[in-house]
Amino acid sequence: MCRYDIAPDVVLRQFAHETVVLNFRTRQFHGLNPTAGRMMEVLGREATSAAALEVLARDFKRPVADIEPLLSALIEDLLERDLIVRAQA
């Protein structure tokens, strides 16, 4: 079971229809749509990715099976950009 934290040198700010993620280390801003922004926020808050998946499935009123591939793809993307880090669950 994996846990993901928001990277220590990263902050998020939610605008009306976009989440802006700032990586201090790379000095880059990243824009996430509302769905991805919510996923990143929940992922960083919940104890495991499975727990995040449950919360997001409830939020979006969709089966876990629908959400899982989207969340997995986002996790890969965020890891690649050093915006989240894998932590010990």
Binding site: D9, V11, R13, F15, V20, F24
Partner: protein
């Protein structure tokens, strides 16, 4: 040497030389910035030969350096612009050392006023956006958009209409004051394109005294401006548009605000966070509108803005 003291861009400026357009009233509460004159030898002494790095550079078509910004972790920033000379801005923005070429003071001071002091304002804790501004009924109307899109022309037409007072040319210095956003006035100098100057005709006399002309590009006027900080009322973003008109920017794309930052390269992590937080606060506190030009002349666009502001005032009073 007689010193001049005054304020602009939210800073209390103490200068070893007369600074065109400086409002010489003093506010002791503002962060200070000292302006000194140095020669090339002194400039070289202030800037170590090692440890610096280039963070911005522009070259002309022949490959010659037009301008650059260097950064040194202990000293600060060194700006060079061909024909305008060099300046060193101390790391905390508390002093700017100017090494001008042998040209008229109003000319080399364009680098100081147009780049160096706004950068010092950012280093002293303000956020600085690329926008011209006027004040209408005690609130600042900011006009942002790409370089050369007509921000200054529009601000000057609003000023000439008598319904607005001049606040700043091309540089919007912001301070977060609780829920409101405060705008600090710039310096009392404006740069007018020659085509726009010709269109203004005799009205240019109402702008103020001519400081000089730079080649075939612009005339530079001393202009009376607002003296103290005022709350930001709203922002217009100029766009080409097929027809002239105004429409709300809703929702406000964060990159529209982030992209209007005056300073991109000289950013510490804390300064990047301040930029993000300022834009975040702006998106929540300040109405933002597209202003489509549609080939309309600046004086007509100014009338469109004044009508829009009147409509908004009526709506608010209901």
């Amino acid at each position: 040497m007689k010193e001049t003291t005054g304020h602009a861009f939210g800073l209390r400026l103490t200068s070893e030389f007369p600074l065109a357009g400086l409002d010489c009233s003093v506010s002791e509460t503002l962060p200070s910035c000292r302006l000194t004159l140095v020669d090339e030898h002194e400039l070289g002494r202030l800037w170590p030969s090692t440890g610096g790095r280039r963070i911005e550079e522009e070259r002309d078509a022949r490959g010659a350096v037009d301008r650059f910004v260097d950064e040194h972790p202990d000293v600060g920033y060194r700006l060079f612009a061909r024909y305008f000379g060099e300046v060193i801005i101390e790391r905390d923005g508390a002093a700017i050392h100017c090494c001008p070429p042998p040209v008229a003071s109003w000319r080399w001071q364009r680098l100081l006023v147009g780049r160096a002091i706004p950068m010092a304002a950012m280093l002293r804790g303000y956020e600085v956006l690329h926008a011209s501004a006027v004040a209408v009924r005690g609130k600042v109307i900011a006009i942002s958009g790409p370089s050369g899109c007509g921000k200054t022309s529009l601000a000057l037409q609003l000023h000439l209409s008598g319904a607005a007072s001049f606040v700043s040319d091309d540089v919007l210095v912001l301070e977060r004051g609780g829920a409101a956003m405060l705008v600090h006035p710039g310096i009392g100098v404006t740069n007018v394109r020659l085509a726009e100057e010709a269109r203004m005709g005799p009205h240019t006399e109402e702008l103020g005294a001519v400081l000089g002309r730079s080649g075939r590009q612009k005339s530079h006027y001393a202009i009376r401006r607002e003296t103290g900080p005022l709350p930001l009322g709203l922002m217009y973003f100029l766009s080409a548009g097929a027809a002239a008109g105004i429409e709300p920017v809703d929702p406000i794309p964060p990159d529209l605000l982030l992209g209007s930052s005056f300073v991109h390269a000289m950013r510490s992590p804390a300064s990047l966070l301040r930029l993000l937080d300022t834009c975040h606060a702006l998106s929540r506190s300040t109405p933002v509108f597209w202003l489509h030009r549609g080939g309309t002349a600046p004086d007509e666009l100014a009338q469109i803005i004044l009508e829009h502001l009147s409509t908004l005032a009526v709506e608010r009073s209901r």
